[in-house]
């Protein structure tokens, strides 16, 4: 069980690194927003794995808050882009 949890952490961290490459490289601002959203999704997953690893069920609440924040950030970025804010891609 412990080995599988560690392996999951390693794979998810690798995914975070790969998404971060796109976040730095991304040619336009919407690409970066998509990368940020995927980072938040991976963070929800890592928080769930951490709850299993430490056997503390309270971390599920943290996952709820993380998902809510990611959704609000994505909607806010989309509104900002459509209203035509200043962009420096």
């Amino acid at each position: 069980m412990s080995f599988v949890v560690y392996l999951t952490f390693i794979l998810m961290s690798l995914a975070l690194v790969i998404v971060f490459v796109r976040l730095v490289k991304g040619p336009t601002l919407p690409d970066r927003v998509v990368a940020l959203e995927l980072i938040a999704s991976i963070m929800v997953g890592m928080i769930g794995v951490h709850a299993i690893h430490t056997e503390t069920s309270s971390f599920i609440d943290v996952a709820i808050v993380m998902a809510l924040t990611a959704f609000l950030a994505a909607i806010g970025f989309a509104r900002f882009l459509e209203r035509g804010g200043p962009r420096h891609d």
Binding site: V4, S41, I60, L68
Partner: protein, 146 residues
């Protein structure tokens, strides 16, 4: 037995998240990247929450995990729709190999208006009359009296 199921769910969620990350790195333009990240990333989070619900097996945790899963299922398509729409309107270039762009014929980038092509003649008349009206943001806030 249930431990094996939890391990399988954890590993498959990590696999799907890695797949989403690879897709977001390797695919050529914004809609295809969203296609990779939204679906595979949401599936990864859902599998992790399912394994957490199986691991703790208390009614409180199971309820919270189901709430997270429902929340992800509702919000992931909405966020992807909003970002995709904003990206198209901002003018993010599509991949040169894309076959079809159905919004191109009905969207006017200068006036920021959409036509479906199903309008009657009267509606098109009203549309042409109102072309010079820019959409305004109305402030409905009243002054606070002290």
């Amino acid at each position: 037995m249930i431990e094996w199921l939890i391990m399988f769910l954890l590993l498959s969620s990590a696999f799907f998240m890695l797949l989403a990350a690879l897709g977001i790195l390797r695919l050529p333009d914004l809609p295809t990247r969203m296609h990779a990240s939204t679906k595979a990333g949401a599936l990864g989070a859902i599998l992790v929450m399912t394994s957490a619900a199986l691991f703790f097996a208390e009614s409180v945790v199971v309820t919270k995990a189901v709430a997270v899963i429902l929340f992800i299922l509702i919000t992931a398509p909405i966020a992807a729709h909003a970002i995709g729409r904003a990206g198209y309107f901002v003018g993010v270039p599509l991949w040169e190999g894309s076959v079809k762009d159905e919004l191109k014929s009905s969207y006017d980038p200068e006036t920021h208006r959409l036509i479906s092509g199903m309008e009657t003649a009267e509606e098109l008349d009203i549309y042409r009359k109102n072309l010079d009206i820019k959409p305004k943001v109305k402030l409905k806030r009243k002054k606070r009296r002290i």
